[in-house]
Subunit: 274 residues, 2 copies
Amino acid sequence: MLTKAPHLFDDATSVAAGDSRWTGATSDDYWAFVGPFGGVTAATMLRAILEHPQRAGDPLSLTVNFCALIAQGPFDLDVRLIKANRSTQHWSVELTQGGDDVATFATAVFAVRRPSWSYQPAQHLPATPFGQTRPYPKSGLGMSWVKQYDFRFVEGEPQFGGSPHLTPASAFSRLWIGDTKPRPVDVLSLMSMSDAFFGRIFHVRNEFVPFGTVSLTTYFHTDADDLAAEDISHVLAVADARIFHKRYGDQNGELWSPNGRLLATTTQIAYFKA
Amino acid sequence: MLTKAPHLFDDATSVAAGDSRWTGATSDDYWAFVGPFGGVTAATMLRAILEHPQRAGDPLSLTVNFCALIAQGPFDLDVRLIKANRSTQHWSVELTQGGDDVATFATAVFAVRRPSWSYQPAQHLPATPFGQTRPYPKSGLGMSWVKQYDFRFVEGEPQFGGSPHLTPASAFSRLWIGDTKPRPVDVLSLMSMSDAFFGRIFHVRNEFVPFGTVSLTTYFHTDADDLAAEDISHVLAVADARIFHKRYGDQNGELWSPNGRLLATTTQIAYFKA
């Protein structure tokens, strides 16, 4: 008899081991417009490396290229250790379905993080604490993945449903992000949360337009020990955009611990039709 | 008889076509501490895709993972079109030497950019014009690649040679970057210039420490037509860092045309020993 994982997120990102060929499946609980939520796809690919017997160290960077739509159902993950040395590993993961072309392609760097000089020039602005910030009402948003997250905007909360903005609004947001059913933040949830911002273009135009992430890169600035010491179930997330031009726009973001530690930084380039 | 390309940069990034296997060679003109300047390696890998007969559209993103040192001499480039649809292409390029393991691994997205709504929320601060900004004296820097660029700091010029800073200095710089022998800015030079910032840790600590880029991602916000219309030979470059921790630090940057257009954005994670 199948036992469900204790959290939907762990269920959604679960993988089964092969030699180099691993398997997974899309989750109806984390579904977006026309395919799985990209953050969970990215986290699933990261999990396949994390659970690989040859893995050493913690994720340092993950880049995911979304090449084609992923259909509802099972997929194969071709996990390859490209190069390893004493303290770093370079991996690639190809996601395919039914022997078709690659639908998603990821490259990752893992590293054994050693003690060093440490300095964090970046600081986050003071924010209303999570417990005192109003949860974002998601009743108007049909996508299931949105329901799995507890978004609490400190700044830049969108007001979808009105008329589109005639002059562009700000692309900047600051918000708390946690799992709706609280789950300790680990590298997998950081990976997923780094793609959990609403498309910047929705904020700027105050309307939904066809949109899809094309390439996503996230850097991890903590190792597993650092993250365990934080012992948190939500992050303060910051996102902004710099340009929308000829069907593509960027997004850059930061994920902070409530204690003021920068956990991860992320950037993506996304398609839009407007 | 071999004819040298008209510009050292074109010579350094030249590739010879095969079917999927292309060849290139390191350039003594663009050498860094212990291997080739990463920007030129990235540009060479990008050129192999650009000159590939199946290539369609312009580069949208390039991620390069530096897996191992590249030795002086020739290398092979295994160029693979992972997935293509009507308007985008996903590529990978593996750089190997003498049949050894992969030394550098790149993934790229190309796109046919079509007209759309266009909006650039980001603006750059006013800067002293290129012609009125003092060229950075490079006499103390032995690396050949540095000689190929004309750096002119508007803000944050480093003063290497003094004693290391006891309290960290700013990681932020704004500077003009052009080729020392002027060359029109194209996607290849944008790619290279996106890695042409001095390591942020050198600025912050005012000393050279062991340093190497591990993963670099650059997004292009212009297509070839946009860039040709700019008709420029230098860019205004902005770079900053957010964290240095357990041997790794980040960098993020922007490359602007003198006319105020955002041409490319870039981020990287780099190893340091300090």
